[in-house]
Amino acid sequence: MARDRGAWLAHAILGAAVVVLAFPLYYAFVISTQTLGEVTSLPPKLLPSTALLDNYAEAWARVKMGRLLLNSAIVALAVAFGKISISLLSAFAIVYFNFRGKQVVFWMIFVTLMLPVPVRIVSTYQVISVLGWVDTYWGLTVPLMASATGTFLFRQFYQTIPDSLAEAAQLDGAGPMRFLWSILLPLSKANIAALFVILFVYGWNDYLWPLMVTNRPEMRTAVIGIEALVPRTSQLPEWNVAMAAAMMVLLPPVLVIVAMQRWFVKGLIETEK
Protein backbone atom coordinates (compact mmCIF):
# COMPACT_ATOMS: atom_id res chain seq x y z
CA MET A 1 0.00 0.00 0.00
CA ALA A 2 2.66 2.49 1.08
CA ARG A 3 4.68 1.66 -2.00
CA ASP A 4 1.70 2.27 -4.29
CA ARG A 5 1.06 5.63 -2.69
CA GLY A 6 4.75 6.50 -3.10
CA ALA A 7 4.69 5.65 -6.79
CA TRP A 8 1.48 7.58 -7.32
CA LEU A 9 2.94 10.63 -5.56
CA ALA A 10 6.13 10.33 -7.60
CA HIS A 11 4.23 10.31 -10.88
CA ALA A 12 2.11 13.27 -9.75
CA ILE A 13 5.14 15.35 -8.76
CA LEU A 14 7.25 14.53 -11.79
CA GLY A 15 4.29 15.04 -14.10
CA ALA A 16 3.61 18.44 -12.54
CA ALA A 17 7.31 19.38 -12.83
CA VAL A 18 7.33 18.42 -16.52
CA VAL A 19 4.20 20.48 -17.20
CA VAL A 20 5.39 23.56 -15.30
CA LEU A 21 8.78 23.34 -17.03
CA ALA A 22 7.19 23.02 -20.46
CA PHE A 23 4.67 25.81 -19.97
CA PRO A 24 6.93 28.77 -20.93
CA LEU A 25 7.92 26.98 -24.13
CA TYR A 26 4.30 26.14 -24.91
CA TYR A 27 3.28 29.72 -24.21
CA ALA A 28 6.05 31.05 -26.46
CA PHE A 29 4.90 28.70 -29.22
CA VAL A 30 1.25 29.73 -28.82
CA ILE A 31 2.17 33.42 -28.99
CA SER A 32 4.19 32.73 -32.13
CA THR A 33 0.99 31.52 -33.85
CA GLN A 34 -1.23 34.47 -32.94
CA THR A 35 -2.01 37.74 -34.66
CA LEU A 36 -0.98 41.06 -33.15
CA GLY A 37 -4.55 41.61 -31.97
CA GLU A 38 -4.62 38.29 -30.14
CA VAL A 39 -1.21 38.80 -28.54
CA THR A 40 -2.22 42.10 -26.98
CA SER A 41 -5.71 41.09 -25.84
CA LEU A 42 -6.56 40.30 -22.24
CA PRO A 43 -7.14 37.76 -20.82
CA PRO A 44 -4.17 36.05 -22.54
CA LYS A 45 -5.18 33.41 -25.07
CA LEU A 46 -3.57 30.05 -24.42
CA LEU A 47 -4.46 28.19 -27.61
CA PRO A 48 -2.62 28.19 -30.94
CA SER A 49 -4.07 30.40 -33.64
CA THR A 50 -3.70 30.85 -37.38
CA ALA A 51 -0.81 33.27 -37.93
CA LEU A 52 2.04 30.79 -37.58
CA LEU A 53 3.32 31.04 -41.16
CA ASP A 54 2.97 34.82 -41.30
CA ASN A 55 4.92 35.33 -38.08
CA TYR A 56 7.75 32.94 -38.94
CA ALA A 57 8.06 34.41 -42.44
CA GLU A 58 8.07 37.91 -41.01
CA ALA A 59 10.75 37.06 -38.42
CA TRP A 60 12.77 35.24 -41.08
CA ALA A 61 12.75 38.23 -43.44
CA ARG A 62 13.19 40.99 -40.91
CA VAL A 63 16.49 39.88 -39.33
CA LYS A 64 17.78 37.75 -42.24
CA MET A 65 17.23 34.67 -40.10
CA GLY A 66 18.68 32.33 -42.71
CA ARG A 67 22.08 34.00 -42.44
CA LEU A 68 21.92 34.14 -38.63
CA LEU A 69 21.09 30.45 -38.34
CA LEU A 70 23.83 29.60 -40.83
CA ASN A 71 26.35 31.59 -38.79
CA SER A 72 25.26 29.84 -35.61
CA ALA A 73 25.53 26.44 -37.27
CA ILE A 74 29.01 27.21 -38.60
CA VAL A 75 30.16 28.47 -35.21
CA ALA A 76 28.62 25.60 -33.24
CA LEU A 77 30.00 22.91 -35.56
CA ALA A 78 33.44 24.50 -35.91
CA VAL A 79 33.79 25.03 -32.17
CA ALA A 80 32.62 21.48 -31.42
CA PHE A 81 34.84 19.75 -33.98
CA GLY A 82 37.76 22.11 -33.42
CA LYS A 83 37.72 21.61 -29.67
CA ILE A 84 37.34 17.85 -30.00
CA SER A 85 40.24 17.51 -32.49
CA ILE A 86 42.57 19.83 -30.62
CA SER A 87 41.99 18.25 -27.24
CA LEU A 88 42.14 14.74 -28.65
CA LEU A 89 45.57 15.44 -30.16
CA SER A 90 46.99 17.06 -27.04
CA ALA A 91 45.69 14.28 -24.81
CA PHE A 92 47.30 11.76 -27.17
CA ALA A 93 50.63 13.58 -26.92
CA ILE A 94 50.43 13.81 -23.13
CA VAL A 95 49.54 10.16 -22.55
CA TYR A 96 51.53 8.37 -25.26
CA PHE A 97 54.75 10.39 -25.52
CA ASN A 98 57.53 11.51 -23.25
CA PHE A 99 58.74 14.94 -24.14
CA ARG A 100 60.50 17.82 -22.51
CA GLY A 101 58.04 20.39 -21.22
CA LYS A 102 55.12 17.97 -20.88
CA GLN A 103 54.36 19.15 -17.35
CA VAL A 104 54.41 22.78 -18.47
CA VAL A 105 51.98 22.05 -21.29
CA PHE A 106 49.71 20.15 -18.94
CA TRP A 107 49.59 23.00 -16.41
CA MET A 108 49.09 25.58 -19.11
CA ILE A 109 46.02 23.72 -20.31
CA PHE A 110 44.81 23.40 -16.73
CA VAL A 111 45.15 27.13 -16.04
CA THR A 112 42.85 28.02 -18.97
CA LEU A 113 40.01 26.72 -16.77
CA MET A 114 40.52 29.81 -14.64
CA LEU A 115 40.50 32.24 -17.55
CA PRO A 116 36.98 32.26 -19.04
CA VAL A 117 36.15 35.04 -21.52
CA PRO A 118 34.64 37.42 -18.93
CA VAL A 119 37.97 37.75 -17.10
CA ARG A 120 39.79 39.02 -20.19
CA ILE A 121 37.13 40.96 -22.07
CA VAL A 122 38.94 43.99 -23.47
CA SER A 123 42.34 42.41 -24.01
CA THR A 124 41.09 39.42 -25.97
CA TYR A 125 39.22 41.76 -28.26
CA GLN A 126 42.45 43.64 -28.89
CA VAL A 127 44.20 40.43 -29.94
CA ILE A 128 41.36 39.69 -32.36
CA SER A 129 41.48 43.17 -33.78
CA VAL A 130 45.29 43.09 -34.24
CA LEU A 131 44.86 39.83 -36.17
CA GLY A 132 42.17 41.45 -38.33
CA TRP A 133 39.73 38.78 -37.20
CA VAL A 134 36.83 41.07 -36.23
CA ASP A 135 33.71 40.06 -38.18
CA THR A 136 35.25 36.81 -39.45
CA TYR A 137 34.49 33.16 -38.80
CA TRP A 138 38.11 32.78 -37.64
CA GLY A 139 37.52 35.28 -34.88
CA LEU A 140 34.21 33.67 -33.96
CA THR A 141 35.61 30.16 -33.63
CA VAL A 142 39.40 29.68 -33.30
CA PRO A 143 39.89 31.45 -29.95
CA LEU A 144 37.23 29.20 -28.40
CA MET A 145 38.89 25.97 -29.51
CA ALA A 146 41.30 25.45 -26.62
CA SER A 147 39.71 23.09 -24.14
CA ALA A 148 40.95 21.94 -20.78
CA THR A 149 37.87 19.86 -20.06
CA GLY A 150 38.11 18.07 -23.42
CA THR A 151 41.81 17.37 -22.96
CA PHE A 152 41.28 15.98 -19.47
CA LEU A 153 38.36 13.88 -20.64
CA PHE A 154 40.40 12.21 -23.38
CA ARG A 155 43.48 11.93 -21.17
CA GLN A 156 41.48 10.12 -18.51
CA PHE A 157 39.97 7.83 -21.10
CA TYR A 158 43.30 6.98 -22.78
CA GLN A 159 44.75 6.07 -19.40
CA THR A 160 42.13 3.36 -19.00
CA ILE A 161 43.13 1.75 -22.32
CA PRO A 162 45.41 -1.26 -21.74
CA ASP A 163 49.08 -0.80 -22.70
CA SER A 164 48.95 -4.06 -24.63
CA LEU A 165 47.03 -2.32 -27.44
CA ALA A 166 49.81 0.16 -28.11
CA GLU A 167 52.44 -2.57 -27.74
CA ALA A 168 50.65 -4.75 -30.28
CA ALA A 169 50.37 -1.83 -32.65
CA GLN A 170 54.09 -1.13 -32.34
CA LEU A 171 54.95 -4.80 -32.92
CA ASP A 172 52.84 -4.69 -36.07
CA GLY A 173 54.89 -1.75 -37.20
CA ALA A 174 52.10 0.82 -36.90
CA GLY A 175 53.29 4.34 -36.24
CA PRO A 176 51.73 6.60 -33.62
CA MET A 177 49.39 8.39 -36.05
CA ARG A 178 48.20 5.09 -37.45
CA PHE A 179 47.55 3.88 -33.89
CA LEU A 180 45.61 7.07 -33.12
CA TRP A 181 43.55 6.87 -36.29
CA SER A 182 42.70 3.16 -36.44
CA ILE A 183 42.60 2.18 -32.78
CA LEU A 184 42.17 5.12 -30.39
CA LEU A 185 39.70 7.08 -32.48
CA PRO A 186 37.16 4.26 -32.90
CA LEU A 187 37.42 3.51 -29.18
CA SER A 188 36.75 7.17 -28.35
CA LYS A 189 33.45 7.35 -30.24
CA ALA A 190 31.24 7.55 -27.16
CA ASN A 191 33.42 10.24 -25.60
CA ILE A 192 33.46 12.22 -28.83
CA ALA A 193 29.66 12.05 -29.08
CA ALA A 194 29.27 13.12 -25.45
CA LEU A 195 31.60 16.05 -25.91
CA PHE A 196 29.96 16.98 -29.20
CA VAL A 197 26.51 17.51 -27.67
CA ILE A 198 27.86 19.70 -24.87
CA LEU A 199 30.07 21.73 -27.22
CA PHE A 200 27.46 22.16 -29.93
CA VAL A 201 25.01 23.57 -27.39
CA TYR A 202 27.74 25.78 -25.94
CA GLY A 203 28.81 27.08 -29.36
CA TRP A 204 25.25 27.75 -30.49
CA ASN A 205 24.23 29.54 -27.30
CA ASP A 206 27.40 31.47 -26.46
CA TYR A 207 26.64 35.17 -26.29
CA LEU A 208 29.48 37.32 -24.94
CA TRP A 209 32.13 36.16 -27.41
CA PRO A 210 30.20 36.68 -30.68
CA LEU A 211 28.87 39.97 -29.32
CA MET A 212 32.45 41.16 -28.81
CA VAL A 213 34.03 40.05 -32.07
CA THR A 214 31.28 40.99 -34.53
CA ASN A 215 29.89 44.37 -35.52
CA ARG A 216 28.27 43.72 -38.89
CA PRO A 217 24.71 42.33 -38.64
CA GLU A 218 25.44 39.60 -41.20
CA MET A 219 28.21 38.17 -39.00
CA ARG A 220 26.09 38.02 -35.85
CA THR A 221 24.96 34.67 -34.50
CA ALA A 222 21.26 33.91 -34.02
CA VAL A 223 21.06 34.31 -30.22
CA ILE A 224 22.31 37.88 -30.60
CA GLY A 225 20.59 38.75 -33.87
CA ILE A 226 17.05 38.11 -32.65
CA GLU A 227 17.37 40.76 -29.96
CA ALA A 228 16.48 43.28 -32.67
CA LEU A 229 13.00 41.73 -32.83
CA VAL A 230 12.21 42.15 -29.14
CA PRO A 231 9.70 45.03 -28.99
CA ARG A 232 10.92 47.88 -26.82
CA THR A 233 8.59 50.33 -25.10
CA SER A 234 8.09 52.73 -28.00
CA GLN A 235 7.63 50.03 -30.64
CA LEU A 236 4.67 48.06 -31.93
CA PRO A 237 4.28 45.09 -29.50
CA GLU A 238 4.95 42.40 -32.10
CA TRP A 239 5.70 39.70 -29.58
CA ASN A 240 4.31 37.10 -31.97
CA VAL A 241 7.21 37.81 -34.36
CA ALA A 242 9.74 37.86 -31.50
CA MET A 243 8.49 34.50 -30.24
CA ALA A 244 8.58 33.01 -33.74
CA ALA A 245 12.25 34.02 -33.92
CA ALA A 246 12.91 32.64 -30.43
CA MET A 247 11.37 29.29 -31.41
CA MET A 248 13.58 29.02 -34.51
CA VAL A 249 16.73 29.82 -32.53
CA LEU A 250 16.08 27.48 -29.63
CA LEU A 251 15.03 24.48 -31.69
CA PRO A 252 18.40 23.23 -33.07
CA PRO A 253 20.27 22.83 -29.75
CA VAL A 254 17.18 21.41 -28.04
CA LEU A 255 16.79 18.87 -30.86
CA VAL A 256 20.45 17.87 -30.59
CA ILE A 257 19.98 17.23 -26.86
CA VAL A 258 16.80 15.23 -27.37
CA ALA A 259 18.23 13.19 -30.24
CA MET A 260 21.56 12.48 -28.53
CA GLN A 261 20.28 12.24 -25.00
CA ARG A 262 22.36 9.29 -23.85
CA TRP A 263 25.60 11.01 -24.83
CA PHE A 264 24.37 14.31 -23.46
CA VAL A 265 24.01 12.88 -19.96
CA LYS A 266 27.42 11.22 -20.22
CA GLY A 267 28.89 14.51 -21.42
CA LEU A 268 27.35 16.50 -18.59
CA ILE A 269 28.87 14.20 -16.03
CA GLU A 270 32.27 13.73 -17.66
CA THR A 271 32.99 17.36 -18.51
CA GLU A 272 32.19 18.68 -15.06
CA LYS A 273 34.24 16.18 -13.09
Binding site: L21, D163, M177, Y207, V230, P237, P253, V254, V265
Partner: protein
Protein backbone atom coordinates in the same frame (compact mmCIF):
# COMPACT_ATOMS: atom_id res chain seq x y z
CA UNK B 1 51.74 6.31 -16.23
CA UNK B 2 51.83 4.44 -19.51
CA UNK B 3 54.63 1.99 -19.99
CA UNK B 4 54.24 1.99 -23.75
CA UNK B 5 55.51 5.22 -25.11
CA UNK B 6 56.03 6.07 -28.74
CA UNK B 7 59.60 7.15 -29.39
CA UNK B 8 59.40 10.33 -31.39
CA UNK B 9 61.16 13.63 -30.93
CA UNK B 10 59.09 16.20 -32.72
CA UNK B 11 55.64 14.61 -33.12
CA UNK B 12 54.38 15.32 -29.57
CA UNK B 13 55.21 19.00 -30.03
CA UNK B 14 53.27 19.10 -33.29
CA UNK B 15 50.33 17.41 -31.56
CA UNK B 16 50.11 19.93 -28.72
CA UNK B 17 50.98 22.92 -30.92
CA UNK B 18 47.42 24.03 -31.80
CA UNK B 19 46.30 23.84 -28.19
CA UNK B 20 49.38 25.67 -26.96
CA UNK B 21 49.12 28.37 -29.63
CA UNK B 22 45.48 29.13 -28.81
CA UNK B 23 46.18 28.99 -25.08
CA UNK B 24 49.08 31.42 -25.33
CA UNK B 25 47.51 33.78 -27.86
CA UNK B 26 43.95 33.97 -26.60
CA UNK B 27 44.18 33.08 -22.92
CA UNK B 28 47.59 33.85 -21.43
CA UNK B 29 48.51 36.94 -23.39
CA UNK B 30 45.10 38.65 -22.89
CA UNK B 31 45.06 37.72 -19.22
CA UNK B 32 48.53 39.18 -18.80
CA UNK B 33 47.50 42.21 -20.82
CA UNK B 34 44.44 42.71 -18.60
CA UNK B 35 46.76 42.78 -15.60
CA UNK B 36 48.93 45.39 -17.33
CA UNK B 37 46.00 47.49 -18.62
CA UNK B 38 44.42 47.59 -15.18
CA UNK B 39 47.31 49.82 -14.11
CA UNK B 40 46.72 52.32 -16.91
CA UNK B 41 44.12 54.78 -17.96
CA UNK B 42 43.19 55.58 -21.56
CA UNK B 43 43.46 59.24 -22.52
CA UNK B 44 40.16 60.97 -23.47
CA UNK B 45 40.77 60.29 -27.18
CA UNK B 46 41.85 56.73 -26.52
CA UNK B 47 45.17 57.20 -28.31
CA UNK B 48 47.47 57.07 -25.31
CA UNK B 49 47.74 55.08 -22.10
CA UNK B 50 48.70 56.80 -18.88
CA UNK B 51 50.20 54.91 -15.97
CA UNK B 52 47.98 55.30 -12.93
CA UNK B 53 49.13 52.53 -10.59
CA UNK B 54 46.33 51.10 -8.52
CA UNK B 55 44.05 54.05 -9.21
CA UNK B 56 41.49 51.94 -11.15
CA UNK B 57 41.17 49.57 -8.23
CA UNK B 58 40.86 52.42 -5.73
CA UNK B 59 38.19 53.92 -7.90
CA UNK B 60 36.22 50.67 -8.02
CA UNK B 61 36.54 50.15 -4.26
CA UNK B 62 35.12 53.62 -3.67
CA UNK B 63 32.45 53.38 -6.34
CA UNK B 64 29.05 52.71 -4.86
CA UNK B 65 27.65 51.58 -8.21
CA UNK B 66 30.40 48.95 -8.53
CA UNK B 67 29.84 47.69 -5.00
CA UNK B 68 26.12 47.51 -5.75
CA UNK B 69 26.92 45.43 -8.83
CA UNK B 70 29.01 43.08 -6.73
CA UNK B 71 26.12 42.70 -4.28
CA UNK B 72 23.65 42.16 -7.14
CA UNK B 73 25.93 39.50 -8.63
CA UNK B 74 26.21 37.60 -5.36
CA UNK B 75 22.51 37.87 -4.54
CA UNK B 76 21.61 36.79 -8.07
CA UNK B 77 24.02 33.82 -8.13
CA UNK B 78 23.17 32.58 -4.64
CA UNK B 79 19.41 32.90 -5.12
CA UNK B 80 19.53 31.14 -8.50
CA UNK B 81 21.71 28.37 -7.07
CA UNK B 82 20.17 27.88 -3.63
CA UNK B 83 16.51 28.25 -4.60
CA UNK B 84 17.03 26.12 -7.71
CA UNK B 85 18.81 23.35 -5.82
CA UNK B 86 16.50 23.39 -2.78
CA UNK B 87 13.44 23.13 -4.98
CA UNK B 88 14.95 20.36 -7.07
CA UNK B 89 16.04 18.41 -4.00
CA UNK B 90 12.63 18.78 -2.38
CA UNK B 91 10.77 17.54 -5.45
CA UNK B 92 13.27 14.76 -6.07
CA UNK B 93 12.97 13.51 -2.48
CA UNK B 94 9.20 13.52 -2.64
CA UNK B 95 9.25 11.74 -5.99
CA UNK B 96 11.86 9.19 -4.98
CA UNK B 97 10.17 5.87 -5.58
CA UNK B 98 10.97 2.92 -7.77
CA UNK B 99 8.66 3.79 -10.63
CA UNK B 100 8.49 3.00 -14.31
CA UNK B 101 9.28 5.58 -16.93
CA UNK B 102 12.11 7.41 -15.17
CA UNK B 103 14.05 7.71 -18.43
CA UNK B 104 11.01 9.27 -20.05
CA UNK B 105 10.81 11.84 -17.26
CA UNK B 106 14.52 12.47 -17.66
CA UNK B 107 14.03 13.31 -21.35
CA UNK B 108 11.16 15.61 -20.50
CA UNK B 109 13.28 17.39 -17.88
CA UNK B 110 16.61 17.84 -19.66
CA UNK B 111 15.69 19.77 -22.81
CA UNK B 112 15.61 23.30 -21.29
CA UNK B 113 19.40 22.98 -20.86
CA UNK B 114 19.64 23.54 -24.61
CA UNK B 115 17.94 26.92 -24.53
CA UNK B 116 20.29 29.90 -24.59
CA UNK B 117 20.00 32.14 -21.49
CA UNK B 118 19.27 35.04 -23.84
CA UNK B 119 16.38 33.19 -25.49
CA UNK B 120 15.03 31.97 -22.14
CA UNK B 121 15.15 35.61 -21.08
CA UNK B 122 13.12 36.79 -24.06
CA UNK B 123 10.39 34.22 -23.31
CA UNK B 124 10.21 35.22 -19.65
CA UNK B 125 10.32 38.88 -20.59
CA UNK B 126 6.98 38.41 -22.30
CA UNK B 127 5.54 36.32 -19.44
CA UNK B 128 6.47 39.23 -17.12
CA UNK B 129 5.32 41.91 -19.57
CA UNK B 130 3.41 44.55 -17.56
CA UNK B 131 0.73 45.09 -20.25
CA UNK B 132 0.31 41.72 -22.00
CA UNK B 133 2.15 39.14 -19.88
CA UNK B 134 0.26 36.33 -18.20
CA UNK B 135 2.04 36.69 -14.85
CA UNK B 136 1.12 40.32 -14.04
CA UNK B 137 -2.36 39.52 -15.37
CA UNK B 138 -2.81 36.67 -12.90
CA UNK B 139 -1.16 38.57 -10.03
CA UNK B 140 -3.61 41.44 -10.57
CA UNK B 141 -6.38 39.18 -9.23
CA UNK B 142 -4.49 38.76 -5.96
CA UNK B 143 -2.95 42.15 -5.33
CA UNK B 144 -3.12 45.70 -6.62
CA UNK B 145 0.69 45.91 -6.58
CA UNK B 146 2.09 46.80 -10.01
CA UNK B 147 4.60 44.14 -11.04
CA UNK B 148 6.26 46.36 -13.62
CA UNK B 149 9.87 45.46 -14.19
CA UNK B 150 10.44 48.61 -16.27
CA UNK B 151 9.96 50.62 -13.09
CA UNK B 152 10.83 48.34 -10.21
CA UNK B 153 14.34 46.98 -9.87
CA UNK B 154 13.43 44.00 -7.75
CA UNK B 155 10.86 42.80 -10.29
CA UNK B 156 13.52 42.98 -13.01
CA UNK B 157 15.89 41.00 -10.79
CA UNK B 158 13.12 38.47 -10.08
CA UNK B 159 12.53 38.16 -13.83
CA UNK B 160 16.14 37.24 -14.64
CA UNK B 161 16.36 34.98 -11.58
CA UNK B 162 13.25 33.05 -12.62
CA UNK B 163 14.49 32.71 -16.21
CA UNK B 164 17.86 31.40 -14.98
CA UNK B 165 16.29 28.94 -12.52
CA UNK B 166 13.90 27.71 -15.19
CA UNK B 167 16.73 26.92 -17.58
CA UNK B 168 18.70 25.02 -14.92
CA UNK B 169 15.86 23.38 -13.04
CA UNK B 170 15.23 20.30 -15.15
CA UNK B 171 18.73 18.99 -15.03
CA UNK B 172 19.17 19.81 -11.33
CA UNK B 173 16.09 17.67 -10.74
CA UNK B 174 17.30 14.92 -13.09
CA UNK B 175 20.66 14.72 -11.28
CA UNK B 176 19.06 14.60 -7.83
CA UNK B 177 16.68 11.87 -8.98
CA UNK B 178 19.60 9.81 -10.27
CA UNK B 179 21.53 10.44 -7.03
CA UNK B 180 18.59 9.33 -4.91
CA UNK B 181 18.01 6.20 -6.97
CA UNK B 182 21.60 5.20 -6.26
CA UNK B 183 21.10 5.22 -2.49
CA UNK B 184 20.52 1.74 -1.07
CA UNK B 185 16.97 1.47 0.23
CA UNK B 186 18.23 -0.98 2.86
CA UNK B 187 20.06 1.83 4.66
CA UNK B 188 16.93 3.94 4.85
CA UNK B 189 14.78 1.00 5.88
CA UNK B 190 17.19 0.13 8.69
CA UNK B 191 17.00 3.71 9.95
CA UNK B 192 13.25 3.53 9.71
CA UNK B 193 13.19 0.36 11.82
CA UNK B 194 15.35 2.17 14.38
CA UNK B 195 12.57 4.71 14.68
CA UNK B 196 13.93 7.58 12.56
CA UNK B 197 11.16 9.66 10.98
CA UNK B 198 11.26 10.80 7.34
CA UNK B 199 12.77 14.22 8.15
CA UNK B 200 15.39 12.72 10.44
CA UNK B 201 16.21 10.11 7.78
CA UNK B 202 16.61 12.82 5.20
CA UNK B 203 19.07 14.93 7.19
CA UNK B 204 20.97 12.03 8.76
CA UNK B 205 21.32 9.79 5.73
CA UNK B 206 20.01 11.05 2.40
CA UNK B 207 21.46 14.55 2.45
CA UNK B 208 25.03 13.52 3.42
CA UNK B 209 24.98 10.70 0.85
CA UNK B 210 23.89 13.19 -1.77
CA UNK B 211 26.73 15.61 -1.00
CA UNK B 212 28.74 14.80 -4.15
CA UNK B 213 25.69 15.53 -6.31
CA UNK B 214 24.98 18.71 -4.38
CA UNK B 215 28.58 19.84 -4.65
CA UNK B 216 28.68 19.12 -8.38
CA UNK B 217 25.42 20.99 -8.97
CA UNK B 218 26.40 23.85 -6.69
CA UNK B 219 29.62 24.68 -8.58
CA UNK B 220 27.93 24.22 -11.92
CA UNK B 221 25.01 26.51 -11.05
CA UNK B 222 27.21 29.15 -9.43
CA UNK B 223 29.50 29.34 -12.46
CA UNK B 224 26.48 29.47 -14.72
CA UNK B 225 24.77 32.24 -12.73
CA UNK B 226 27.93 34.29 -12.32
CA UNK B 227 29.33 34.13 -15.85
CA UNK B 228 26.99 32.53 -18.36
CA UNK B 229 24.01 34.77 -17.65
CA UNK B 230 25.58 37.71 -19.47
CA UNK B 231 23.36 37.07 -22.50
CA UNK B 232 20.26 36.99 -20.31
CA UNK B 233 21.06 40.40 -18.82
CA UNK B 234 22.17 41.90 -22.13
CA UNK B 235 19.13 40.84 -24.13
CA UNK B 236 16.48 41.33 -21.45
CA UNK B 237 17.14 44.13 -18.97
CA UNK B 238 20.41 45.67 -20.16
CA UNK B 239 21.37 46.00 -16.53
CA UNK B 240 18.32 48.08 -15.71
CA UNK B 241 16.13 49.60 -14.61
CA UNK B 242 18.84 51.91 -13.26
CA UNK B 243 21.50 49.35 -12.47
CA UNK B 244 19.26 46.90 -10.63
CA UNK B 245 20.36 43.88 -12.70
CA UNK B 246 23.84 45.04 -13.63
CA UNK B 247 25.91 42.01 -12.62
CA UNK B 248 29.73 42.23 -12.53
CA UNK B 249 30.35 40.65 -15.91
CA UNK B 250 27.82 42.95 -17.54
CA UNK B 251 29.43 46.01 -15.97
CA UNK B 252 32.92 44.95 -17.02
CA UNK B 253 31.71 44.53 -20.60
CA UNK B 254 29.78 47.80 -20.58
CA UNK B 255 32.61 49.89 -19.15
CA UNK B 256 35.01 48.38 -21.67
CA UNK B 257 32.92 48.28 -24.83
CA UNK B 258 30.39 51.06 -24.44
CA UNK B 259 32.22 53.34 -22.01
CA UNK B 260 35.62 52.66 -23.63
CA UNK B 261 37.24 52.86 -20.22
CA UNK B 262 39.79 50.19 -20.94
CA UNK B 263 41.78 50.46 -17.72
CA UNK B 264 38.67 50.41 -15.57
CA UNK B 265 37.24 47.42 -17.44
CA UNK B 266 40.58 45.59 -17.23
CA UNK B 267 40.68 46.19 -13.48
CA UNK B 268 37.23 44.61 -13.24
CA UNK B 269 38.48 41.66 -15.27
CA UNK B 270 41.37 41.26 -12.84
CA UNK B 271 38.95 41.21 -9.92
CA UNK B 272 36.84 38.57 -11.69
CA UNK B 273 40.00 36.58 -12.38
CA UNK B 274 40.89 36.61 -8.68
CA UNK B 275 37.36 35.38 -7.95
CA UNK B 276 37.58 32.49 -10.42
CA UNK B 277 41.00 31.43 -9.15
CA UNK B 278 39.72 31.54 -5.57
CA UNK B 279 36.64 29.51 -6.46
CA UNK B 280 38.66 26.91 -8.37
CA UNK B 281 41.10 26.53 -5.47
CA UNK B 282 38.19 26.16 -3.07
CA UNK B 283 36.56 23.64 -5.35
CA UNK B 284 39.65 21.43 -5.40
CA UNK B 285 40.23 21.60 -1.65
CA UNK B 286 36.61 20.96 -0.85
CA UNK B 287 36.20 18.24 -3.43
CA UNK B 288 39.12 16.35 -1.90
CA UNK B 289 38.28 16.68 1.76
CA UNK B 290 34.68 17.15 2.70
CA UNK B 291 32.49 15.46 0.19
CA UNK B 292 31.42 11.88 0.76
CA UNK B 293 31.90 9.83 -2.36
Amino acid sequence: MKRTVFPNRWLPYALVAPQVAITLGFFFWPAFDSLRLSLYRASPFGDRLMWVGLWNFERLAGDEAYLRSALTSFVFSFVVTLVGLALALLLASLANAKIRGLTVYRSLLLWPYGIAPAVAGIIWLFIFHPSYGILPYLLAFVTAYQFNWFLKGWVALALVIVAAIWKQFGYNLAFYLAGLQAIETAVLEAASVDGAGPIRRFFAITFPLLSPVTFFLFTLNMTFAFFDTFGLIHSVTQGGPGDATSILVYRAWKDGFEGLQLGLSAAQSVILMALVIGLTALQFRYAEKRVTY
